[in-house]
C-alpha cells in the first residue's frame, strides 16, 4: 500500500508556519490596510485642497463646520481651527443670512443628493465681502447628516456681467440702428434704434430675417456682407426700405467681428437715417443756384445803370449849367452805390467759398463771378 507523505523539507516548513514563524504567518492587524486607506484619503484631500472652490462640510444639526478645504482657509483668511469652531452661517454677510438659511432648509427637505444653488457674500476675517455662488447639498455620512457647501468666487463673473450690461445698454439706447448678423446676413440682434428707423413696432421681429429685407435693392445686403468678408469694414450710402414699403436714405457703416484667432464670427452694421441731410443738401444746392442767378442779375443791373450814367456824366461835363455840379455830384453817388453793390457781391462770393470749404461738403453753386482773393474780408 502506498503511504502518502510529504518530503521532510516541506514538513519542516509547514511546522515553522504552524508555530507562526512563516514569512507570512501574520498577526491580525488592520494597520497596513489602514495605512493604504489613509494614503488614499490624503491623496483625495490634496485634490480637494487644490480646487479653487471653497468646500465646507456642515453638521446639519448644529450648523457648525465639520471640515473645510484649503481654499476656504485662503478665501476667508481664517485658520482651519478657527473655522471649525464656528457655524457656517456666521460666514455669510448679515443681510443675506436669512435667505441663505432658507436655501439650506429647503435642501434639507428634499431627498439626499439633490442640490440647490444660491448666491451670497461670504465675509473674510478683514471684513471683505466675497460674492460666491454656493451650491448646497444634503448628505449622510454614517448616521450623521451633513450639508456640503461648495462656494465659487464669482467676483470676476459679476464684473464681466456688469461690463456686458453697460455695453448692452449702450447698444440698446443708441439712436443709430445697430444690427448684428451672421456671415450669411441672417440677423442675430437689432437694437430699438434700428426698429424705430425702419418703422417696426419692436426689435424682436428681426430675428432670423436676412438683412436684404432692409434695402430698397435686396442685392445690397449680399454686396455688404461680401465686401465685409473681403475688406472687414465698409461705409456706404444707400436706400433703405421701411416696414411700410417706403424708402429712405441711409448710411451703413459696418465691420466684421473676429475671434482671437482672427476668424470672422459675425458682422455688425451701424445704420443712420440720412434723409434729412440729403434733403438739406439738395435744398442748399438749389438756394446757391438761385443766389448765383440773382447776383448775376444784379451785376447786369449794375452795368445797366453805369452805362447811362457814363453818358450823363460825359454830357454834363460838356455843358455850362449851374445844375451841372449837382448832377455830377449825384452821378458820383449813384456810381458809389453801384460799386458798393459790386463789392457786396465779392464779399458774398467769399462767404460762399467759405461755406463750400467748411460746410457740409455739398456741391458748390455756380462758378461764375468768383473774384478769388479780390478783396479782404471786412467787418460788417
Amino acid at each position: 500500500m502506498h503511504m502518502h507523505s510529504d518530503p521532510p523539507d516541506d514538513r519542516d516548513a509547514l511546522r515553522e508556519k504552524i508555530i507562526g514563524l512563516g514569512e507570512t504567518s501574520l498577526h491580525k492587524s488592520y494597520y497596513p490596510e489602514l495605512q493604504s486607506r489613509l494614503a488614499e484619503l490624503e491623496r483625495f484631500r490634496a485634490l480637494l485642497d487644490q480646487t479653487h472652490d471653497a468646500i465646507f462640510l456642515i453638521r446639519a444639526d448644529t450648523g457648525r463646520l465639520a471640515d473645510v478645504n484649503a481654499s476656504a482657509v485662503t478665501y476667508l483668511g481664517l485658520s482651519k481651527e478657527e473655522l471649525l469652531a464656528m457655524p457656517f452661517a456666521s460666514l455669510i454677510a448679515p443681510h443675506q443670512k436669512a435667505a441663505f438659511l432658507e436655501t439650506v432648509r429647503k435642501s434639507n427637505e428634499v431627498p439626499s443628493g439633490s442640490r440647490r444653488t444660491c448666491t451670497a457674500y461670504l465675509v473674510s476675517r478683514e471684513g471683505r465681502e466675497i460674492p460666491m455662488e454656493i451650491t448646497v447639498r444634503s448628505v449622510i455620512f454614517g448616521d450623521e447628516q451633513y450639508i456640503v457647501a461648495i462656494a465659487r468666487d464669482i467676483t470676476d463673473r459679476i464684473l464681466t456681467e456688469e461690463e456686458l450690461k453697460i455695453k448692452e445698454s449702450a447698444l440698446e439706447s443708441s439712436t443709430n440702428g445697430i444690427l448684428i448678423a451672421d456671415l450669411t446676413g441672417a440677423i442675430m440682434y437689432a437694437n430699438p434704434g434700428f426698429a424705430s428707423i425702419f418703422g417696426y413696432e419692436q426689435d424682436g421681429v428681426f430675428m432670423g430675417k436676412n438683412l436684404e429685407a432692409f434695402f430698397a435693392t435686396p442685392s445690397v445686403g449680399e454686396e455688404i456682407t461680401g465686401h465685409l468678408l473681403d475688406n472687414h469694414t465698409i461705409v456706404k450710402e444707400t436706400i433703405g426700405l421701411r416696414s411700410d414699403g417706403s424708402s429712405f436714405h441711409i448710411q451703413v457703416s459696418g465691420s466684421v467681428v473676429q475671434n482671437d484667432a482672427g476668424e470672422p464670427l459675425c458682422i455688425m452694421l451701424i445704420v443712420m437715417d440720412i434723409t434729412e441731410r440729403i434733403l438739406t443738401d439738395q435744398m442748399k444746392r438749389k438756394t446757391y443756384e438761385q443766389l448765383g442767378k440773382n447776383i448775376e442779375q444784379f451785376a447786369i443791373i449794375g452795368d445797366h445803370i453805369r452805362n447811362p450814367l457814363q453818358v450823363i456824366v460825359g454830357y454834363v461835363e460838356m455843358i455850362d449849367d449851374p445844375l451841372a455840379e449837382k448832377i455830377l455830384e449825384q452821378s458820383c453817388r449813384i456810381n458809389e452805390f453801384v460799386t458798393q453793390l459790386d463789392r457786396g457781391w465779392v464779399e458774398s462770393a467769399n462767404v460762399r467759398q467759405f461755406l463750400r470749404k467748411h460746410g457740409d461738403g455739398g456741391e458748390p453753386p455756380l462758378q461764375t463771378f468768383i473774384h478769388i482773393g479780390a478783396t479782404k474780408e471786412e467787418d460788417p
Binding site: 507562526g20 514563524l21 514569512e23 507570512t24 501574520l26 498577526h27 492587524s29 494597520y31 497596513p32 495605512q35 493604504s36
Partner: protein
C-alpha cells in the same frame, strides 16, 4: 482584605511575542508585515554602544525599511525626551516604532507612539485608560530581563517640571509584537542584571498578591518567581550563559504577563516616587522596598505571601518569613544598601509617601494602606 473569587470577571491581554535565540533578527520582517516604511528606532546610548541597535537596524535594512535612530533617553525617561522623540517621529514622517533596550527606551517609545497619534503632550495621558487614539505599531526587543515593558500596558514617564513619575496605563500601550532574544542580555553588567531581575521579581510578587489577580495571572506570577529565584543568581555568575539568560528572560516575560493584567501594588507606587525624587534605578528602588512592603501587606494575603516565601526560601535554604526570605535573596545578589545610604533623608519621607499614595498602583495593593502607613514603610527602609 478584599475577598476574591475565581468567578470574578477578568481579562487577559498579551501581545504576540516570539522568544528564542535569533528572535532579534525578525525585526525587519515584522516591521514590513506591519506596513512600516520608515521606522523610528528608539534606543539608548548604552544599548547602542553594545551593538544591539545596529543589529536591529541591519535587519530593518535587509527588509528594505529605512529608519531614524532616536537615543536621547536617560535612565528614567523624561516627558521632554518623549516629546522630542515625537518631534523626530513627525519630522521624519515615520509610520512605525521599533524599540531596542530596557524599560527606559521601551516606555519612551510607547510615549512617543501615543503622543504622536493623539497629537498631545505626553503628560495629558496620566492615569488609567486616558489614551483615545492607539499608537502606531510598536515592535519591542528587550535587552534586559526586568521591565517587561515589551508586554505590559504600562509606561512610566518622569514629569520634568514637577519632578515626579507619572504612570500611563492603557491597553493601547501593549506593544504589537515582542521579540525576546537572550543574546542582548549577555552584555548587561552584573549590577544591571540584578536591578532588572529584582524589578521582575517585584512584578511577579506584586501581581500574585494583587487584588486584581486571576487564575491566569497566578500561573505566570508563580512561574516567574520560580524562574527568577533559580536563574538570576546563576546568570549574575555566568553572564554569557545563554540558557541562564534565557531563563531570566522567560521569568521576566511571565512576570510581565502577570502584572500587565493583575497590576502592581505599594512596592511600585513607592518605587516610582522614590526613583523620581532621587533619580535612582527603578529595579534598585524595588529591591530596597520589597521586603518592607511584604511585611506591611502580609496580613492581607498570608497564604499567597507564604507561597512566595516558600519558593524563595527553597532556593536559598532559608526558613524565615516571606519578608526575611526576600531580604536574604536580595543580599545574596549583593544589594545591601538602605534608602539612607542612597541619599534619602527622613524629612523627604512625607513628600515621597504623598506621591506614592496618589500612584495608580496603590489601587491593586492587597491591603488598603494609608499615607501614614507608607511613611512608616519608608522609615523602616531608611
Amino acid at each position: 482584605m478584599i475577598q476574591r473569587s475565581q468567578l470574578d470577571l477578568r481579562k487577559f491581554v498579551a501581545p504576540e511575542f516570539i522568544c528564542g535565540h535569533g528572535a532579534l533578527q525578525l525585526a525587519g520582517r515584522y516591521a514590513r508585515n506591519f506596513g512600516m516604511r520608515h521606522v523610528l528606532l528608539v534606543t539608548d546610548p548604552g544599548v547602542r554602544a553594545a551593538g544591539w541597535t545596529d543589529a536591529v537596524g541591519e535587519s530593518l535594512t535587509e527588509a528594505g525599511i529605512s529608519f531614524t535612530i532616536f537615543d536621547a533617553i536617560s535612565v528614567n525617561p523624561r516627558s521632554r525626551q518623549v516629546m522630542s522623540g515625537t518631534e523626530v517621529y513627525r519630522a521624519e514622517e515615520c509610520n512605525g516604532i521599533v524599540a531596542v533596550g530596557g524599560g527606559s527606551p521601551m516606555d519612551c517609545a510607547k510615549g512617543i507612539g501615543i503622543a504622536s497619534s493623539n497629537m498631545r503632550d505626553i503628560l495629558a495621558f496620566e492615569g488609567v485608560d486616558r489614551v483615545p487614539v492607539p499608537a502606531p505599531p510598536l515592535i519591542c526587543i528587550p535587552t534586559t530581563a526586568g521591565s517587561s515593558a515589551d508586554v505590559s500596558q504600562f509606561a512610566i514617564i518622569t514629569d520634568d517640571v514637577r519632578k515626579r513619575k507619572i504612570a500611563i496605563i492603557s491597553k493601547t500601550l501593549v506593544p504589537d509584537i515582542s521579540l525576546l532574544d537572550p543574546e542582548p542580555l549577555t552584555t548587561m553588567s552584573p549590577e544591571l542584571t540584578v536591578d532588572t531581575g529584582m524589578d521582575a521579581l517585584s512584578h511577579a510578587i506584586e501581581a500574585y498578591v494583587s487584588n486584581a489577580s486571576s487564575p491566569m495571572t497566578d500561573v505566570h506570577a508563580l512561574e516567574a518567581i520560580r524562574l527568577i529565584s533559580s536563574a538570576l543568581p546563576a546568570a549574575v555568575r555566568e553572564p554569557h550563559n545563554l540558557d541562564l539568560r534565557f531563563s531570566t528572560l522567560l521569568g521576566s516575560l511571565h512576570a510581565g504577563l502577570a502584572f500587565s493584567n493583575a497590576s502592581l501594588g505599594a512596592v511600585h507606587a513607592m518605587a516610582h516616587s522614590l526613583g523620581a525624587a532621587c533619580d535612582l534605578a527603578h529595579g534598585r528602588c524595588n529591591a530596597m522596598l520589597l521586603e518592607h512592603v511584604i511585611a506591611a501587606n502580609y496580613e492581607a494575603a498570608p497564604d499567597r505571601y507564604d507561597q512566595v516565601g516558600a519558593i524563595l526560601g527553597a532556593a536559598e535554604g532559608g526558613r524565615g518569613t516571606p519578608a526575611e526570605n526576600v531580604a536574604a535573596f536580595r543580599r545574596s545578589l549583593g544589594v545591601t544598601e538602605t534608602l539612607a545610604a542612597v541619599g534619602v533623608r527622613e524629612d523627604a519621607i512625607r513628600t515621597l509617601a504623598r506621591q506614592a499614595y496618589a500612584d495608580p498602583c496603590m489601587v491593586t495593593n492587597p491591603r488598603r494602606l494609608t499615607c501614614e502607613d507608607l511613611e512608616r514603610i519608608y522609615a523602616y527602609a531608611l
